[in-house]
Amino acid sequence: MQIVVNVIVLAALYCLICCGYVLIYRASRVLNLAHGELMTIGGYFLFTVAIGLGNDPVQSFLLAFIFSLALGFIVYFFLMRFMAGESALASVLVTVALGILLRGLITLIWTSQYRHPLQHLGMENSSHQIVEGAVISTFGIAMVISTVLLYLVLFLCFKFTRWGLRMRAVGENPILASQRGISLHMYYALSWGIAAFSVGLAGMIQACDSGLDPDMFVIGLKAFPVVLVGGLDSLGGVIPAAFIVALAEILTIHYISPQASEVAPFVVLISMLLIRPWGLFGTKEELERV
């Protein structure tokens, strides 16, 4: 039973991280390799805000959300905007460089110490028995709930609101969207903002759940196979992909060997690429385009 809960929590984390990859990729065909750093910074935002406000979780989280969102906008307007029309590789490399820059900044501002925002929020990360033999921590629940909420909100927005519709349009055919009067910069920035926010949220919950240090960014890379298995451009594909990868990982830990769990997602990825190179829900044309 515990295994099922573990899979759900891990899958939720992957969903939360990968949401940003997909949003940015769908909008601007850029794969953001600085995603892990954005996640880490999200955690540090919460840490800083928590120290500043002290024992006020609601305000702290809200403020940290705003910071994360703003960071996404800043990254777009001050950096990625200039990469329009450059080759995919160059854009990706810019995000890599951005990652290095952010990592340096993290060390500069927050040093390499382990940090625990939870201490300053005045919250407890207690565990809850949900069914017989399965326990989940408060922030495990938070992770699952925020993932469900985020995806629900995003799906509803994409389906029923005008800006969601336009965001889809921008992702599908930016030139035509622009010719229909949509300002691309706004929607690109929005996708960066939401991406930074969602991954920052993952970082915050992760920081509350198990602490914070600059090496956390690697988790962002670990989530890669999920995006590819789901199909780079498919938000809906992330969810099953996250479950498949999380399941593979956790089954490996339990039945094969814990250290092999490191390569399990990549084994899933490779087998996926052999069967359906464009991912579970990705579009085939997508593959041709990139």
Partner: protein
């Protein structure tokens, strides 16, 4: 050259567009579009028509193209190298040659995507009525994805989404492309109707000169990035060269056959 009436809505002067910083696509095109007219821009494949239209409707960073020389003026305002959404909001809306609809969105959604210039004047419902008035077919396929429409429906949808933007000037790229003659006729007539009813000016870029000149008030012929001929439809239709090249109905006997080209111009060999 017969001067068309009305005030100038759009004027292009010595336009030059450069792709990827190296290749020049259009060399010094100059022409103008007057208010409330249908103007046809004729020319063969690769003559620079599409590039001209794209230059008017604005380039994006992703195109890696820019207007390096010349002037594009819309109602007296310079608009070259402005982003497309800016130009759309000014009232110039393009119906592109390909990728004209969002294939993964339904017809309804396609219509909702467009940002309307006349948002204050008309509600979404009005637009819907308007669209259904001109294109009743679209009402029946409202829930279909754009990608599954037939060529004609697709063209209608593209025209509709452009109309939703509330254009003053409608740029139409290759309306007839890949469509049967009947539907081309139908669409051409519709454009004329829309022009009259919606107070829209139309710039029509066509390979199918015959169809375009049927409804046009004025025509330009573009070749290799230059305007080589201009005039009203009758003049164009009756000009020998135009007949030859674009209408495919010149008297073959009178013109030089490609077989008879003097080979010594470049080499001293004769064949055939």
């Amino acid at each position: 050259m017969a001067k068309p009436k009305n005030e100038t809505l759009l004027s292009i002067e010595k336009l030059e567009v450069v792709y990827h910083n190296v290749s020049t696509a259009v060399l010094g095109v100059s022409f103008e579009v007057r208010n409330h007219q249908i103007v046809a821009l004729l020319g063969i494949n690769g003559a620079g028509k599409t590039t001209t239209l794209r230059a008017i409707s604005g380039f994006l960073g992703v195109d890696d193209a820019k207007v390096t020389e010349g002037l594009i003026q819309f109602r007296g305002e310079k608009i070259q190298n402005k982003p497309p959404h800016f130009i759309t909001k000014k009232g110039i809306v393009l119906v592109p040659e390909r990728d004209k609809v969002f294939e993964n969105l339904t017809v309804e959604e396609n219509l909702q995507v467009s940002v309307s210039l006349r948002k204050s004047r008309a509600s979404g419902q009005d637009f819907k009525d308007l669209i259904l008035h001109y294109f009743p077919v679209l009402g029946k396929v409202g829930n279909h994805l754009g990608g599954y429409l037939s060529g004609g429906e697709r063209q209608m949808l593209a025209l509709s989404t452009a109309l939703v933007c509330g254009p003053r000037l409608l740029l139409v790229d290759e309306l007839s492309l890949g469509l049967g003659p009947i539907i081309v006729d139908e669409l051409m007539n519709l454009i004329k109707v829309i022009r009259d009813e919606q107070q829209v000016t139309v710039l029509l870029v066509e390979q199918n000169a015959l169809a375009a000149l049927e409804i046009a008030d004025y025509g330009y012929v573009i070749e290799n990035g230059r305007i080589v001929f201009a005039g009203d439809p009758d003049r164009l239709r009756n000009h020998e060269d135009i007949k030859e090249f674009y209408l495919g109905q010149g008297e073959r006997e009178s013109q030089k056959s490609y077989r008879d080209i003097k080979q010594y111009r470049r080499t001293r060999r004769w064949y055939g």
